[in-house]
Structure formats: structure tokens, C-alpha cells
């Protein structure tokens, strides 16, 4: 087990290196002038030249890359070309808001998607199954931006019961100062006992939460259903029934544990997908998260910021896959 994890970790580091190499080269190859960005629109030619030397852009690409890696190992992701702030600090401010969404969608996938799939498999070809399948196919195939805009139209414009975007209402933002403990606004306000902020944060979380969670919920429901249906035809399920075990135990324990492999893989992969999906959702709901941050960075070709976000999502993918592999290795048959 230890060598297995070590091997996977090593592989993950290789993947990360590849990702860094590719994004680094790509952002440098794109025709743009980072030095001009750095000094601003009204700079003179001399100022730009000085900035180029200051940023090390006059050196060959491989030296720049080496320098970047060196800084990276020290935890320095460089400075944003636009705000002149360390990228790491900016990521730290934006990541919690994003994680709040990602976590919510994962919880949704596990606590709504999984039971939905089990129900669907148990009542195969009955109306419960049909509804579940209709829902999950819809959730997977409707584009995220469409769902987001549609929800805004219904709940903000027509019904007027939920806010259109952002994490908090303007007046609440001005009135209260919530200290950062976990970085998750809903949790922080709950910990500090500020229920007005909590309620406001929660109402703001509903629409982007649903928008982002629908895809993983649908995917997990569908995957669980098909994996479970396959397992339910196995001999040992029939045998378990013949020993007089209650259907509840046969379904939720005997069958589910066997079908968890594909479900776990899908859950972890969908977390990665959700992370990318937040780029869209956060733009729609002007959610102050990393997606919104990278969207502006891409438009202004702020390459240290782009690199920072890329490395963050690549790390997330690698870690998630590692976790998935470890969970799957809990199955005694794959244990190494």
C-alpha cells in the first residue's frame, strides 16, 4: 500500500511538471507584451525596457522557466501583472469562495446523487426510475450557463425570491465584518454566530450551488444506477437473499459496496470538472472566486495569474485522483 501511494505521488509530480511546462510555454508563446502590461498603458519605451529586464523577460525561455520553477519551489507564484500583488495571496483570497461551491456540489453528488441512483436501480423500470433517469440525463446534458441564466430568470427576475449573484447583499457587506476562520463565508458566519450574515450568505449560495451541483448529481446518479444494476444480477446477491437477509442490507451494503468503484471515480473526476465549471458559474453569478479571477486574468493575459490557477487546478486533479485510487484500493481484490 505504501509503495502504491509513493508510486502514485511520484506520477502526480511528473504530471504537475508537465502541466507547468506546457502552460508556461503556451503563455509565453502567445503574442503579448507582459512588460508593457506591468508598467501600464501610459509607459514610455524606456520604462517598458526597464520592466523587461526587471521581470527577466530579456533572458532565453529556458532560463525564465528555470527561474519560475525555482520560485515555485519556494512557494512564490510570481506577481500579477495587473494588480502587482503576489499571485499566491490573491489565490488565497479567492479559493475559499470557490471551494464553498465545489464542496457543496460534492456533498450534493454524494448525498443526493448516490441515493437517487440506488433508488433508481432498486425500482428499475418503475416510475421512480423513469423520473430519476429523466432528471439525471437532463442534469448532465443541459449546459451549465443555460441552467445558471434560467435559474436567475426564474428566481430573481420572475419570482424575486433569491438574489441574482455575489456572495452577500451589498448592505450586509457594509454592515458586518466577518473574520476569516475557514474562509467559507457560510461556515464563518455560523461559527461567529452571526445569523443575519449566515442567512444572507445561504440565500446567495442557493442558485450558484444548484447550477454547479446538477451535473455531478446527475452523473453520480446515473453511474451508481448502472453499476448497481450490474451487481444486483450477481450470484452472491441472490445468495444473500437466500440466507434471509433483509432487502435493505442486501441493497445498501452488499450491493452498494461492490458498485462503489465506478461511483468513487466519477465523484472525484466530477470534482475536478466542477472546479473548471466554476469559471463559468462564477462569471454568471459574479461570485468572488477563483473562476472569476482567472476569467479576468485570461482576458488581460496576466500570465502569472493564469499559471497560478492552472497549477492549483492541476494539483487538485492529481490529489483527487490519488484519493480515488486509494479508495478503490480498499477493495480487497485490487489491494496491492
Amino acid at each position: 500500500m505504501k509503495t502504491f501511494i509513493a508510486k502514485r505521488l511520484l506520477l502526480g509530480i511528473l504530471v504537475l511538471f508537465g502541466v507547468i511546462l506546457i502552460t508556461f510555454t503556451l503563455t509565453r508563446v502567445i503574442p503579448s507584451d507582459p512588460a508593457a502590461q506591468w508598467v501600464g498603458p501610459r509607459a514610455t519605451a524606456e520604462q517598458i525596457k526597464a520592466a523587461r529586464i526587471e521581470l527577466g523577460l530579456d533572458k532565453p525561455l529556458y532560463i525564465q522557466f528555470g527561474k519560475y520553477l525555482q520560485n515555485l519551489l519556494r512557494g512564490n507564484l510570481g506577481y500579477s501583472l495587473k494588480s502587482h500583488q503576489p499571485v499566491l495571496n490573491e489565490l488565497k483570497t479567492y479559493i475559499p469562495a470557490t471551494m464553498e461551491l465545489v464542496l457543496l456540489s460534492t456533498i450534493g453528488a454524494i448525498f443526493i446523487g448516490l441515493p437517487l441512483g440506488v433508488m433508481s436501480a432498486k425500482r428499475k423500470d418503475e416510475w421512480v426510475d423513469h423520473i430519476c433517469r429523466f432528471f439525471s440525463v437532463g442534469a448532465v446534458s443541459l449546459p451549465t450557463f443555460w441552467i445558471g441564466i434560467f435559474l436567475q430568470l426564474v428566481f430573481y427576475r420572475w419570482l424575486g425570491i433569491l438574489p441574482m449573484g455575489d456572495q452577500l447583499s451589498m448592505n450586509i457587506k457594509l454592515m458586518y465584518n466577518i473574520p476569516k476562520i475557514t474562509g467559507f463565508l457560510t461556515l464563518d458566519s455560523l461559527i461567529t454566530g452571526n445569523f443575519i450574515v449566515f442567512k444572507d450568505a445561504l440565500t446567495h449560495l442557493i442558485l450558484p450551488g444548484i447550477t454547479i451541483a446538477l451535473y455531478p448529481i446527475g452523473l453520480v446518479a446515473r453511474m451508481t444506477r448502472s453499476a448497481l444494476l450490474e451487481i444486483l444480477n450477481e450470484d452472491y446477491i441472490r445468495a444473500a437473499r437466500s440466507y434471509g437477509l433483509p432487502e435493505r442490507m442486501v441493497l445498501w451494503s452488499y450491493a452498494l459496496k461492490n458498485s462503489l468503484g465506478p461511483t468513487v471515480t466519477v465523484v472525484t473526476l466530477s470534482i475536478g470538472y466542477t472546479l473548471v465549471n466554476t469559471f463559468l458559474v462564477e462569471s454568471i453569478f459574479s461570485w468572488p472566486g477563483i473562476g472569476n479571477y482567472v476569467a479576468t486574468a485570461v482576458i488581460s493575459l496576466d500570465y502569472p495569474a493564469i499559471m497560478g490557477v492552472t497549477i492549483f487546478s492541476a494539483c487538485a486533479y492529481v490529489i483527487l485522483n490519488l484519493i480515488a485510487d486509494i479508495i478503490i484500493a480498499l477493495d480487497p481484490r485490487v489491494r496491492i
Partner: protein, 331 residues
């Protein structure tokens, strides 16, 4: 004959796109308490379907139970609700399945699987259940029981697994055991061990066994009485001696001829290999197409199971003629 276990007019079918395909059409089957009853038939004759129907585990749909009674201790199992059947399964009637490789759940330890069944059926605490599980493993003569409990199924051999399965099946005091080809996927030496074990446990725990097999030789070695199943119908039944020594039905005769008695003898398998076309329902005897003794009457009506000699029952017009019995026709 006591009525410990009886099946009457059981008709089971499967829904297919072409309509209902009849799988079982059992006129009559009775098993006495304490005996081992062998049910022999080729693949697809409905042996396993019968086993699942008795336990109420036949998937419905696609399965349909059209009519009939399965009487166990005077009560009709087909009329029981799922809740009542669950209390019978494992506790009263238990089953050993064909393939020991796929009958144990691969992601739970053997001990966990036995303990769960014991706890669920007897409502005792974990410690007591563990003790009972150890006893059961010792009962099926597996050495080093404690160590076996923490093993996963894939760490055990086929023979060991089949012993575990027998231990689980008998762990909650079942008195009627359905053994569905329990030695099918095991090699011959292991087979002998498992058969011996079943015979010993049967004596020790006083269980009645319905032994399903596709091997007449095997059945004659372990059973008291035997029924020959052909395409869902029992065509001949009686004590092992009666059926093996004096087979009345042409199908039984063909089956017996297929067992090589000595090396020089050439076996004619052509008749065994003949298949009825498309399984059409002609209304006549189901063996008609393959029967060497068929006559015009056999294609029109189906003979019903009739005693020819004491407990020896057979369903064949020709056999009736030979035994001087008035022809009987099943409805």
C-alpha cells in the same frame, strides 16, 4: 408418504418478446423428511428455476408463476408474503448455489458474511455470532477456523469456499437444504469431499436435502430417491434403485446409456444431442422429437405421472402399455 414437502401442478414461465415461454410444468413432486431427493436434468430443464421458485427468489418479472402449490409443512409457500418468506429463508429452507467462486461477496471477509447472516436471523450480539461462526466453520471441517474468518473469498480455494457456503447455509438451523449442483465447478477429488460433507451434515443436523444435479451417477451415489426432469416436467421418479435398475421412460434409458460402463462400449450420443425445434408447444409429449419409441398418440396428448410399481412413477404411454396400465392423459 408424509407430506413434508410437496409440489403440485407448478407452472412457471418466462415472459419473452415472443410470448410466455414455459419453463416448469411440474405435476407432482414430494420429498419426505430426512431423505435426500435427487433432481436430475440437463441444462435448461428448469432445475435452478425450481430452486429459486421454492425460495421465492425467482425474479418476477420476467418470471411468472402461473399456477400451482409448493407445500412445506402443510403451508403453501407461493401464498406467503415477502416478509414471511424472508423468515423461512436461511432459517427453515436454505440453498447452496452452483458456483462457489461467485456465491460469496468479494468485498467482505468470510467471517463478516457468516456473522451477518447469523446476527440477522438469530438476533444475537456480535460476540455470540462470532462464536457460532467459528463452530460452523469447524463443522464443515475447515482447519484453522479463526484464520479463515478474516480471509476474503478470493484468498480461498473453490473447495474451501463451497464449505464456507455450506456453513452459511446451515448456520441458522435450516432443516431443508436445496443443493443446486454444489459440485459443478469443482474438480473430482474436491467433489467427493463436498459430497461426503453434505452426507455427514445431513445425518448430524437431520436435514432434508433436495439435491439438484445434471449427473445421474452422482445422484445415484448420494440420494434415496430421484426425479428425472425433462424440459420442465418430471418424467420419471422413484427410489434410486427403481429408476437406475429399471428405467421406464425412454429419456431415462438414454441418459443411463450415456454413462460409460466400460471402456470398450461405444456410446451413442446422437439422441441426447437432438434438440426440440424452437421449443414449440405441440400439446404432445415433450420428448416426442427425440423419443425412439414414439407413436402417433405421443404427438397428440401428454402423458401424466402415473405409478407403475409402488413408489415408481413414470410419464410415458409406452411405459404404461408395457406395465399394463390404462392410458392417462394430463390435462
Amino acid at each position: 408418504m408424509d407430506n413434508y414437502f410437496e409440489i403440485k401442478d407448478l407452472k412457471v414461465g418466462f415472459k419473452t418478446f415472443e410470448g410466455i415461454k414455459k419453463v416448469l410444468d411440474l405435476e407432482f413432486l414430494s420429498i419426505c423428511k430426512g431423505e435426500t431427493f435427487g433432481l436430475v436434468g440437463e441444462s435448461g430443464s428448469g432445475k435452478s428455476v425450481l430452486a429459486l421458485t421454492i425460495l421465492g427468489l425467482l425474479p418476477i418479472p420476467p418470471g411468472i408463476i402461473e399456477s400451482g402449490q409448493i407445500l412445506y409443512g402443510g403451508e403453501d409457500l407461493l401464498k406467503k408474503r415477502e416478509e414471511e418468506m424472508r423468515k423461512i429463508r436461511g432459517k427453515k429452507i436454505s440453498m447452496i448455489f452452483q458456483d462457489p467462486m461467485s456465491t460469496l461477496n468479494p468485498v467482505f471477509t468470510v467471517g463478516e458474511q457468516i456473522i451477518r447472516v447469523i446476527r440477522n436471523n438469530e438476533g444475537i450480539n456480535r460476540k455470540q455470532a462470532e462464536k457460532k461462526a467459528l463452530e460452523m466453520i469447524e463443522l464443515v471441517k475447515l482447519p484453522d477456523a479463526k484464520n479463515i474468518l478474516i480471509k476474503y473469498p478470493h484468498e480461498l480455494s473453490g473447495g474451501q469456499r463451497q464449505r464456507i457456503i455450506i456453513a452459511i447455509a446451515l448456520s441458522c438451523g435450516a432443516e431443508f437444504l436445496i443443493a443446486d449442483e454444489p459440485t459443478r465447478n469443482l474438480d473430482v477429488t474436491i467433489q467427493a469431499g463436498i459430497l461426503k460433507l453434505i452426507a455427514e451434515l445431513k445425518k448430524e443436523l437431520k436435514v432434508t436435502v433436495l439435491f439438484i444435479a445434471n449427473n445421474l451417477g452422482l445422484v445415484s451415489a448420494v440420494c434415496n430417491r430421484v426425479g428425472i426432469l425433462h424440459e420442465g416436467r418430471i418424467v420419471e421418479t422413484g427410489t434410486v434403485k427403481e429408476v437406475i435398475k429399471d428405467p421406464k421412460h425412454p429419456y431415462t434409458v438414454t441418459l443411463l446409456k450415456a454413462i460409460p460402463a466400460n471402456r470398450e462400449e461405444k456410446i451413442d450420443l446422437s439422441r441426447i444431442l437432438l434438440r426440440r425445434e424452437n421449443g414449440q408447444e405441440t400439446g404432445g409429449c415433450r420428448y416426442f422429437d427425440r423419443c425412439p419409441e414414439r407413436s402417433g398418440q405421443c404427438s397428440k396428448s401428454s402423458p401424466s405421472l402415473t405409478p407403475v410399481d409402488g413408489s415408481h412413477l413414470v410419464a410415458c404411454f409406452k411405459a404404461f402399455e408395457r406395465s399394463g396400465i390404462n392410458e392417462q392423459t394430463a390435462s
